[in-house]
C-alpha cells in the first residue's frame, strides 16, 4: 500500500517536473518522452515467457511510445493463481493482471481484488467485441475483464514431410485419425504423436475436444457448470475414446511413461526439431515453439482441425483476460489500449496471436494460416465453447499435481480403467 502511495506521489512530482520542463522548452514533446501519462509507472503480470513474452512486450512498448508511461512486465510462470494469491493477500497486486482462466476472474472478483472496467476500456469492449466474449469477463452485472488474446485449441499440428513419406492426408474424422492416419504412419516407421503429458492442461484439452464433439455442446455446458456428474456415461465414453490413442504405447514418442514426463513445448520440439513424431495436438500457439524449433509455420508446420468424433468437429477456444487490480492512474488507459484493434494489430504482427476483437481485420495477421484460424473462430458461431478446465475452479481444473491435471496424467499412464478415472474426477470435482 505504502509503496503505491509513494509511487503515485512520485509520479505526480515527476509529471509536474516534466510539465515544467515541457513548458520551459519548446512546445511539443520529444520523440519518446511526454505523452499524457509521462512518468507513470505500471506493472503487468501475465503467464507468458519466451517468444510470447516478446510479442506482448512489443505491444507494451507501443503503449509506452504513445503515452509516455513506462510499463514493466513480470511473468507469473505457469501457475498464475499461485503467483497472484500472495500478492493480493499482501495488498501488493500488479496494476494489471492477465488471467488465463475466467475461473480466476470470478474468484478475484469475489475477493474484491478487481477494479471494474471504466471509460474507454468499457466502451471498447462494448463496441468491438461480441456478447459472448463480454460475458466471459463479467461477474454478475460488473464487467471486469477483456479477452486480449484468444487461443484456438482445436488443432492438430503435423509435419508435412512425415505425412508425405507415409502418403497420408489430414483426417476428417476421429476414426480416420486413429486407423488410417496413425496406422499408416506407424507402418512407415514414424511415431504418430508427441504427447505433452507433463503439462496437465494439454491433457484436459484432449478431453474437452473429444467430449465437445462426442457429447455435444449442451452436455459440455452442463459438465462445466457442475449440473452433470463426472461419472456420467458420456464422460466414461470420452475416456474410452481417448484410450484409443492413449492406450497404445507405440502411438506416442517415448511410450506412455515418456509422454507423462514430456512437457509443453518439449513435445513440439519432438515433432519439429528432433523429428521423433509426426503430430502434436495443441492450440494455435504451437506456432511459436515450432518456429523456435526451426520449422517454418505454414510450410513445414501445418495444422488440421481437430477431427469430428461425433457429428460435428469441436471448436474449443481459450484466452487470456486482462483485469485491473488497482485504481492507479493509467491502469484503465492501458486496458483500453490492450483491448483496442490498434494494439492487437501490433500484436498480430508478432505472430502466435489471435484476436477476439471483431475489428481486427484478417490482413493484420502475417500469414494466411492465422487468417484462416481467426476466421474459424468467427464462423463457428454458437458451437464455440470456452476451455472447460478454465471455467471450473482452478483447484480442480488448473493445478499442478491435483484435480483434472493429475487424474488425466494417471489415466495417460494407465488408461485401462475409464470408469475408475471418471469416479476419481467426480470426487475431485468441486461440489455445487
Amino acid at each position: 500500500m505504502s509503496e503505491h502511495r509513494w509511487n503515485s506521489r512520485g509520479a505526480i512530482a515527476v509529471a509536474a517536473a516534466g510539465a515544467l520542463v515541457a513548458s520551459a522548452c519548446s512546445p511539443g514533446a520529444g520523440p519518446t518522452g511526454g505523452g499524457e501519462l509521462g512518468g507513470v509507472e505500471l506493472t503487468v503480470a501475465g503467464k507468458w515467457t519466451g517468444v510470447e513474452q516478446e510479442g506482448f512486450e512489443a505491444v507494451l512498448a507501443s503503449f509506452e511510445e504513445e503515452t509516455g508511461a513506462s510499463v514493466s512486465y513480470e511473468s507469473t510462470g505457469e501457475d498464475t493463481g499461485a503467483y497472484l494469491g500472495p500478492k493480493i493477500e499482501a495488498g501488493e497486486p500488479p496494476d494489471v493482471a492477465v488471467l488465463p482462466q475466467p475461473g480466476l476472474v470470478d474468484e478475484y472478483a469475489e475477493q474484491d481484488a478487481l477494479v471494474p472496467l471504466e471509460g474507454e476500456a468499457a466502451t471498447t469492449l462494448d463496441e468491438q467485441y461480441t456478447d459472448y466474449w463480454r460475458d466471459l469477463g463479467s461477474v454478475g452485472d460488473e464487467t471486469y475483464g477483456v479477452l486480449i488474446k484468444a487461443a484456438h485449441k482445436s488443432l492438430i499440428w503435423y509435419r508435412p514431410g512425415a505425412f508425405d513419406e507415409a502418403g497420408v492426408a489430414a483426417p476428417e474424422t476421429w476414426d480416420e485419425l486413429t486407423d488410417t492416419t496413425s496406422g499408416t504412419l506407424s507402418d512407415a516407421g514414424i511415431t504418430p504423436f508427441a504427447m505433452c503429458g507433463a503439462s496437465g492442461w494439454t491433457l484436459t484439452d484432449w478431453f474437452e475436444n473429444v467430449y465437445l464433439s462426442e457429447a455435444g455442446p449442451e452436455s459440455y455446458d452442463q459438465l462445466a457448470g457442475g449440473e452433470l456428474s463426472w461419472t456420467d456415461e458420456s464422460v466414461v465414453q470420452t475416456l474410452e475414446t481417448l484410450a484409443e490413442i492413449w492406450d497404445e504405447g507405440g502411438m506416442m514418442a517415448g511410450g506412455q511413461s515418456g509422454a507423462v514426463q514430456t512437457d509443453f513445448p518439449t513435445c513440439v520440439t519432438q515433432v519439429y526439431g528432433q523429428e521423433d513424431a509426426a503430430m502434436v495436438f495443441e492450440g494455435d500457439f504451437v506456432s511459436a515453439p515450432a518456429a523456435e524449433a526451426g520449422a517454418t509455420v505454414g510450410e513445414d508446420a501445418i495444422a488440421f482441425p481437430f477431427p469430428a468424433v461425433g457429428e460435428e468437429p469441436p471448436v474449443v477456444v481459450a484466452g487470456d483476460i486482462a483485469v485491473a487490480m488497482t485504481e492507479d492512474e493509467g491502469v484503465q488507459e492501458l486496458l483500453a489500449y490492450l483491448a483496442s484493434a490498434d494494439a492487437q494489430s501490433v500484436w498480430a504482427e508478432q505472430g502466435g496471436y489471435l484476436s477476439a476483437n471483431s475489428e481486427v481485420t484478417a490482413d493484420a495477421y502475417e500469414d494466411e494460416f492465422t487468417q484462416e484460424l481467426a476466421q474459424t473462430i468467427l464462423d463457428a458461431g454458437e458451437n464455440v465453447r470456452y476451455d472447460l478446465s478454465d471455467q471450473v475452479p482452478s483447484a480442480f481444473g488448473a493445478t499442478e499435481g491435483a484435480g483434472m491435471w493429475a487424474i488425466l496424467q494417471d489415466f495417460l499412464r494407465d488408461p485401462s480403467d475409464p470408469e475408475g478415472t471418471a469416479e476419481e474426477l467426480e470426487q475431485a470435482a468441486p461440489e455445487s
Binding site: 493463481g81 499461485a82 512407415a188 507423462v260 475452479p393 483447484a395 493445478t399 499442478e400 499435481g401 491435483a402
Partner: protein
C-alpha cells in the same frame, strides 16, 4: 529464538555482579567486571530482539492462530483444519516422503561427506578436490534443480543419466536393427511364443516364402539396402525367401506385393524351425533374400528371430512415480556432500594424531583405525552434521518443486511443498496451509532442542 535463549541465561549472573561492582568505587585487583554495564548490552540487543520478534515470533504465533480459521479467514473452525489435514491422502503421501527423506538423506550425505573427508586427507591435490565437491553449495537450489531435471530426462539424447546408462548398455549388448518392425497386417506371419515372428503356414524344402514387414523408416535401414528381390527357388534341401519393407515411400504401394521402390531388409536373422527346434539359420542379403541350407525333408516354419526386434534399452525412468524421490535425494546429495565434507574434514584435522599412531603401532589395520578410532573421535562432529542436515531435510521444498514434472508432483510431494500448494496454488486455503506449517514446525522442534542442548554442553 535460539540466539536469545542462548545468550540470556549467562547474562543474568553477570548483571548482578556488574551491579555490585558498579556500586563500589574503583576496586583495584577486585573481580569487578570490566567494560560497559549490562543495560547497554540490552540496548544493543534490542534491534535484534525486535527483528526476531517481528520476523520470527510473530509469524509463528500468527500461523498457529490462523490455522484455527477457515480458508477465507472469516470463520473460526477450531481444530478442523488439523483433522482435515490428517485425513487427506495427499498429506499422507507428503508425510511418507518426508519420513523417507529424513531417514535416508542425512545418513547418505553424512556418509558421503565422511568418505570424501577421509579420502581427501590422503591425496595430494586434496584442496582442488575439495573445491570441486564443495562447488555445488555455491549454486542455488533452484539452479541445481533445473540442472538435475535435465540430467534425469528419459530421452538419452537429452538426459545425461540415461545417456550414460544406455551407452554402457549398448556396448555390452548392441541394439537390434529393427526394434519397431512388425508384420504387415494380413501377412502370413504371427507373433512367435518366444518373441519374434513366425510364418503361419508350414513350408517344405524347395519352396519360397515372402515375408512383408512394416514399421521401419526407410531412412533408418542399414546402409547398402537394395530394392527387394524375389528369392530364386532353391534346391531339394534348401528353403529360400525374401523379407522386405512392404511400404512404398509416399504411400500407394500394393500391400503384400514387392513394389519397385520397396527395399529388402538386410541382416535379419531367419530360422527354419521343425518341431520347435531350430534346424538352420541364415541372414538376409542386401535385397532381403535368404537361403536356408542343409534342411532335410519335412515341414518347417520360418521364424524371424526375436533378437532382430529387441526393443532398445531406454534407460531408467528417473522422473517416474517410483524413482522420483530417490532421484531427488541424489540431487540433494550432490548439493550437500560438500558441506558435510568440509565440516567433517575440519573435525578430522582436530583429531590427535597420537591416537591414530598409537593404534597403528599396536598393529591395527587401517580399517580398524578408521572404525575404532577415527569414527568414535569424530562422532560429535558427525552428529552435528547429521542433525543439521535433518533440520534442512525436513523443510525440503525447492528441489522437489523444480525436479518433479507436474505429472509426478503428487508422488514426490513433501510437507513444505504441500503447505505451499494448499496455501497459494489453486486452493488458496491459508487456514489449512497454516495448519501444515505448524505441523512442520512441531516436527522440526525436537531436532532444534537437541541441537541447542549440544551447543550448551559444548560451551560448558
Amino acid at each position: 529464538m535460539t540466539e536469545t535463549g542462548g545468550t540470556t541465561p549467562p547474562a543474568t549472573p553477570d548483571a548482578s555482579e556488574g551491579a555490585a561492582a558498579g556500586d563500589g568505587t574503583t576496586a583495584p585487583g577486585g573481580t569487578g567486571r570490566l567494560g560497559p554495564p549490562s543495560w547497554l548490552a540490552l540496548v544493543f540487543l534490542l534491534p535484534a530482539l525486535l527483528f526476531l520478534g517481528a520476523y520470527l515470533v510473530y509469524p509463528i504465533l500468527f500461523s498457529a492462530y490462523r490455522s484455527l480459521w477457515d480458508a477465507s479467514g472469516t470463520e473460526f473452525v477450531g481444530l478442523d483444519n488439523y483433522l482435515k489435514m490428517f485425513t487427506t491422502p495427499s498429506t499422507f503421501v507428503a508425510l511418507r516422503n518426508n519420513v523417507i527423506w529424513v531417514v535416508v538423506a542425512p545418513i547418505v550425505v553424512t556418509i558421503a561427506g565422511l568418505i570424501f573427508a577421509v579420502l581427501t586427507e590422503r591425496i595430494r591435490w586434496s584442496t582442488a578436490f575439495k573445491i570441486v565437491i564443495f562447488m555445488p553449495m555455491a549454486i542455488s537450489f533452484l539452479a541445481s534443480g533445473v540442472i538435475f531435471r535435465l540430467v534425469y530426462e528419459q530421452d538419452p539424447e537429452r538426459g545425461l543419466a540415461n545417456a550414460v546408462i544406455t551407452t554402457v548398455q549398448d556396448t555390452v549388448s548392441a541394439a537390434a536393427a529393427y526394434p519397431d518392425a512388425n508384420p504387415r497386417p494380413g501377412a502370413p506371419l504371427a507373433e512367435a511364443s518366444g518373441g519374434g515372428y513366425e510364418s503361419t503356414e508350414e513350408v517344405s524344402p524347395g519352396e519360397t516364402v515372402f515375408l512383408p514387414l512394416v514399421g521401419v523408416q526407410a531412412d533408418e535401414l542399414p546402409e547398402g539396402a537394395e530394392p527387394a528381390a524375389e528369392a530364386a527357388v532353391g534346391g531339394q534341401d534348401e528353403l529360400t525367401g525374401t523379407v522386405w519393407l512392404d511400404f512404398t515411400r509416399g504411400g500407394g504401394g500394393e500391400e503384400g506385393a514387392m513394389d519397385p521402390e520397396e527395399l529388402g531388409l538386410p541382416g535379419l536373422e531367419v530360422q527354419a524351425v521343425r518341431d520347435g527346434e531350430v534346424v538352420a539359420t541364415a541372414f538376409t542379403e542386401n535385397d532381403g533374400t535368404f537361403l536356408l541350407e542343409d534342411v532335410g525333408g519335412g515341414q518347417y516354419t520360418i521364424r524371424l528371430a526375436a533378437d532382430n526386434f529387441t526393443e532398445p534399452y531406454r534407460g531408467v525412468t528417473w522422473l517416474g512415480p517410483t524413482l522420483i524421490t530417490p532421484a531427488i535425494i541424489g540431487a540433494y546429495l550432490w548439493v550437500w556432500a560438500g558441506f558435510a565434507m568440509v565440516l567433517i574434514a575440519a573435525g578430522l584435522a582436530a583429531i590427535p594424531r597420537e591416537a591414530l599412531e598409537a593404534a597403528r603401532v599396536d598393529g591395527a589395520t587401517e580399517w580398524q583405525v578408521f572404525r575404532r578410532v577415527t569414527v568414535p573421535l569424530l562422532s560429535p562432529v558427525l552428529l552435528v552434521v547429521f542433525v543439521t542436515l535433518m533440520i534442512y531435510v525436513l523443510k525440503i521444498f525447492d528441489l522437489v518443486l523444480v525436479i518433479a514434472p507436474g505429472s509426478v508432483q503428487a508422488d514426490a510431494n513433501v510437507l513444505a511443498l504441500q503447505m505451499w500448494r494448499v496455501s497459494f496454488g489453486g486452493g488458496n486455503d491459508q487456514g489449512m496451509g497454516s495448519a501444515l506449517a505448524v505441523f512442520l514446525l512441531v516436527l522440526v522442534v525436537p531436532a532444534m532442542i537437541f541441537q541447542i542442548r549440544r551447543f550448551r554442553q559444548e560451551s560448558q
